[in-house]
């Protein structure tokens, strides 16, 4: 129900919270952002139990493992690479987690107890109501610290093979722990994290449910549970998908025009943002500008130790892209229209004189018309789908506010809406 009722307050939220926040960063280039929201009172959590059901789109098997089902499994892809056109299978994915592991991951994901000062949860920067991102150009960690990159959406991360903008992690588990221990993000450390979780009454019991064969609560279990939850975030029922499966009327005339511009060889969008995931999962150096006062982020140059990849970043999936403004690795562009204009503006036009970047060969000079840019934006809007949004816990085991600080919106389905009778 809440899903259907909800649009106003998100806009208000952006106006009241993010715009001032963005303005403050733009005006002062400051890293400090005040945290004005107080912690909620503690609640009792003794009744929390883990689900025995897989999330939607997952089938429970005889070994208590959830395995993914989606309509793209009706198709093949060339060499099983999971890239192609409309009726093409998706790339390889992660599944096989238990319902309990996924559900424990969900509780951990929303629980600020994972951060050093209990102020920030994973959901603070990966808010379900904002496409699992946060509406910020550069995300904010504990003590109001602003990072240098934007929080990527987590939708469909089960199909992703390299993680972080610079592709420095190769599994969901490897990725999951990194923000917990980053001083700029959640600021914890292994010892503190384990003792925080052990000191919450419910967690040792819940970990035992999710990992019945292990003696102690440990870091691997935390990583597994967070990976399990992230692997369950499936968004494959957009209007684009309906078109892809053969229903021509799913897109209107302008959106189809947009699709044809998107895949045309003038704009070349689909050469990197390849269906059906809308990414080819490669690194691309495209030469977008950084925000004012920020030096060039070298990106994948560091990961791969090669200046050829200076300023290179992972090609992000465009699924739910309309929900995750602002755009690019550091949020330089406020709207999809601005992004489309960037690509149309000519190869290297935003690269400062004298800077040496080996720009991707598809960065050309398409000179799209204003109408064509609008149609591209129309088309990208058809990639939105949050029909399988996970349930946001009404309370988390620590009793802290499940959607902490900046992350709250009534677009989310909460457990109270969900348990209607």
């Amino acid at each position: 129900m809440a899903l259907l009722l909800s649009t106003i307050s998100r806009a208000n939220l952006i106006k009241q919270v993010y715009l001032p926040l963005l303005l403050s960063t733009l005006l002062f280039c400051s890293a400090a952002v005040a945290d004005t929201i107080e912690s909620p009172p503690l609640e009792t959590t003794a009744t929390i139990t883990l689900s025995e059901r897989c999330p939607p789109s997952f089938m429970l098997d005889d070994n208590n493992q959830c395995s993914l089902r989606n309509l793209y499994q009706l198709y093949n892809s060339l060499g099983n690479h999971g890239i192609g056109g409309l009726k093409t299978a998706l790339p390889a994915h992660r599944d096989g987690f238990s319902p309990q592991q996924i559900d424990l991951g969900r509780l951990l994901f929303f629980d600020p107890v994972l951060s050093a000062d209990q102020s920030v949860s994973c959901a603070s920067c990966h808010n379900p109501s904002q496409g699992f991102s946060d509406g910020l150009g550069r995300s904010v960690g504990i003590h109001g610290q602003q990072g240098s990159r934007s929080a990527p959406s987590l939708w469909n991360s089960t199909f992703i093979k390299d993680f972080f903008w610079d592709a420095r992690a190769q599994s969901l588990e490897e990725q999951a722990l990194s923000p917990l221990f980053s001083p700029q993000e959640m600021g914890s450390n292994p010892t503190q994290l384990l003792s925080s979780l052990e000191s919450v009454e419910a967690y040792p019991r819940l970990f035992k449910q999710a990992f019945p064969n292990s003696k102690n609560l440990n870091l691997d279990q935390i990583a597994t549970a967070l990976a399990a939850f992230q692997s369950s975030l499936i968004s494959l029922n957009s209007r684009y998908d309906q078109y892809a499966h053969g229903y021509a009327d799913a897109l209107n005339k302008q959106e189809v025009e947009g699709l044809n511009i998107f895949r045309s060889f003038v704009a070349r969008c689909s050469q990197c943002h390849m269906p059906p995931l809308f990414t080819n999962q490669q690194i691309a150096v495209i030469g977008t500008p950084e925000p004012e006062c920020m030096a060039r982020d070298i990106g994948a140059e560091k990961t791969f130790g090669s200046a050829k990849l200076k300023g290179g970043f992972k090609v992000p999936s465009l699924r739910n892209i309309a929900e995750t403004a602002p755009y690019m690795h550091s949020g330089r562009f406020e709207t999809l229209r601005e992004v489309a204009e960037f690509y149309s503006g000519g190869r290297g036009h935003a690269v400062p004189e004298g800077e040496d970047l080996l720009l991707h060969w598809h960065i050309s000079e398409p000179n799209l018309t204003g109408d064509e840019l609008d149609r591209l934006v129309d088309f990208m809007g058809t990639l939105s789908d949050s029909s399988l949004l996970p349930i946001i816990p009404q309370s988390v085991p620590s009793g802290l506010n499940a959607i902490s600080k900046k992350a709250s919106s009534d677009k989310n389905i909460s457990e109270s809406d969900h348990e209607k009778s």
């Binding site: 939607p56 309509l71 009706l74 060499g79 192609g84 045309s264 720009l359 969900h418």
Partner: protein
């Protein structure tokens, strides 16, 4: 700067070594191999041995109708009206539109009357002439001109034929199938293209034959693709003639099993007019065949004449400094196999890099074949016929022809995934319905056990409900129509949810 220094060093060393070797290699009797009869290549894809497959189109899905498009009509309107199995005939005349085919088994055929063709004219404003993303597509007999993007392009269509089209001055690529399996491109005339006239990208089992390509930067390019044959084409007056490439940074990382045979490759010396930064912008003007990082490439029976730089140029990524880094790509051109070719007047005005490396072998003058970079297990026959550089590690091939390899096309075509009805129902139920429905309790919509009780085994009634849901329970949200699912999937999912037993219901 760094590169120039390195080359200089190599030259200096080689002059020293070469000086005392010079006397020992003179007058050695060449090994002469006849390419008539003898052993035939047997290392290609398994598809080559059984049938002599000449078509990429399988039998039609259905016996369809023929739709006729006349000048003044829209071709796209006919495509939208067409069903799989239909043929669309386009009468001679001018059509200015982008035609896209997002359905299977459509044959789009121009009618040629006394030399007059159905002509797609992009007027210098439209992006692409024909786009498709369906399987079993035929595009034939069109004239295509003045588009900014591509003449004919696909993204993931299997089993296609692109035949007998004339494509003039259409921007980036004339014919560009991408991410497709099993395709035939033959009898097309393509010219005036700023990248490749015919570009096969990330595809498998492709046959490119009897085409004329000219006045383009690249004639025919096989990129990050496998099991391809390029034969009997007339490739002239391009910057580079025929290319077999691995481009780094693409999601599919290999090119192998490519046969380039019996082509006329002549006078490919026009200035490179590719867009700056594009991969083909690095092709030296005056290259007959270019093999870069591709493996298992056989070059046989071609006539390669009049190229400034070289008749055949083989290199690795290490000698192509403008390319990006891709740790997942093998950068070397291994197992290149050069059989008999007629080569004459190549490398007569080559580029400095080639000339400098040739000097390290004390070679001056014409260059038919130039190879640089590591190349394992490569071979050649009758090398004495050519002016060659860099073939020191090439062995003698133990075969002399590819006669036993007719084509790499797949008999009966690439097959779609076959899904049993129950699995189809399960996929659709889990992927869509389970977002709102659980077996025995209420998520957003009513429980499956309620629905089972209500419909009592009547799958058709569920199908008609999900196509156009009406409000039954006042206190539940409206159900969105599931009319985008095809009829087969709708029935499968209806039957599936009627038959979910309690034990298997926990999604």
């Amino acid at each position: 700067m760094k590169k120039a220094k390195t080359l200089g060093l190599i030259i200096a060393l080689a002059a020293f070594v070469g000086g005392w070797q010079l006397g020992t290699n003179l007058n050695e009797a060449p090994q002469i191999t006849s390419s008539v009869g003898g052993a035939s290549y047997s290392g290609g894809a398994e598809t080559n041995s059984a049938d002599r497959v000449n078509t990429a189109l399988p039998e039609r899905i259905a016996t369809g109708q023929t739709l006729t498009v006349n000048p003044g009509d829209s071709i796209q309107a006919a495509v939208e009206a067409a069903q799989p199995g239909d043929t669309i005939q386009v009468m001679p005349g001018i059509y200015s539109e982008t035609v896209y085919i997002d359905k299977d088994d459509i044959h789009l055929v121009g009618v040629i009357e006394a030399g007059e063709r159905a002509t797609l004219d992009g007027l210098g404003k439209l992006n692409d002439a024909i786009l498709y993303s369906g399987n079993n597509i035929l595009i034939a007999n069109f004239k295509i001109t003045r588009y900014k993007g591509n003449g004919i392009m696909s993204q993931a269509g299997n089993n296609f034929e692109i035949r007998n089209n004339i494509i003039i001055d259409t921007g980036i690529y004339g014919i560009f199938p991408q991410l497709g399996v099993n395709g035939l491109i033959e009898h097309n005339i393509v010219s005036g293209i700023a990248d490749a006239a015919i570009y096969v990208g990330m595809s498998d089992n492709i046959h490119v034959a009897h085409n004329e390509v000219f006045d383009s930067v690249a004639g025919i390019e096989i990129e990050n693709s496998r099991h391809a044959i390029v034969e009997n084409n007339y490739v002239h007056n391009n910057t580079g003639g025929i290319l077999a490439f691995i481009t780094p940074g693409l999601p599919i990382k290999t090119t192998f099993d490519v046969i380039i045979r019996n082509n006329f490759i002549l006078d490919n010396n026009i200035p490179n007019f590719a867009a700056p930064g594009s991969t083909v912008a690095g092709i030296p003007s005056g290259t007959g065949i270019l093999v870069m990082a591709a493996d298992d490439v056989i070059i046989e029976g071609n006539i390669i004449v009049n190229h400034k730089v070289a008749g055949i140029l083989i290199n690795d990524h290490g000698n192509a400094p403008g390319l990006t880094l891709d740790p997942d790509v093998d950068p070397n051109a291994d197992r290149v196999m050069i059989l008999d070719n007629v080569m004459h007047n190549n490398g007569y005005d080559t580029i400095d890099e080639v000339r400098a490396f040739a000097l390290t072998e004390l070679h001056t003058g014409d260059i038919d074949i130039f190879q640089i970079g590591p190349s394992q297990d490569s071979c050649i026959i009758n090398r004495h016929r050519y002016n060659h550089v860099g073939l020191g590690d090439f062995a003698e091939c133990d075969f002399s022809n590819t006669d036993s390899t007719h084509s790499y096309l797949l008999a009966g075509g690439a097959k779609p995934r076959v899904i049993a009805s129950e699995e189809r129902g399960e996929i659709a139920y889990m992927g869509i319905c389970a977002g709102c429905h659980a077996y025995d309790d209420v998520l957003i919509g009513p429980s499956i056990s309620d629905i089972q009780a209500m419909y009592a085994g009547n799958a058709e009634a569920i199908v008609s409900y999900i196509n156009a849901p009406v409000k039954i329970r006042a206190d539940y949200p409206d159900m969105p129509a599931q009319n985008y699912l095809d009829a087969e999937t709708q029935l499968a999912v209806a039957e599936y949810l009627l038959n979910i037993p309690l034990g298997q219901s926990q999604h």
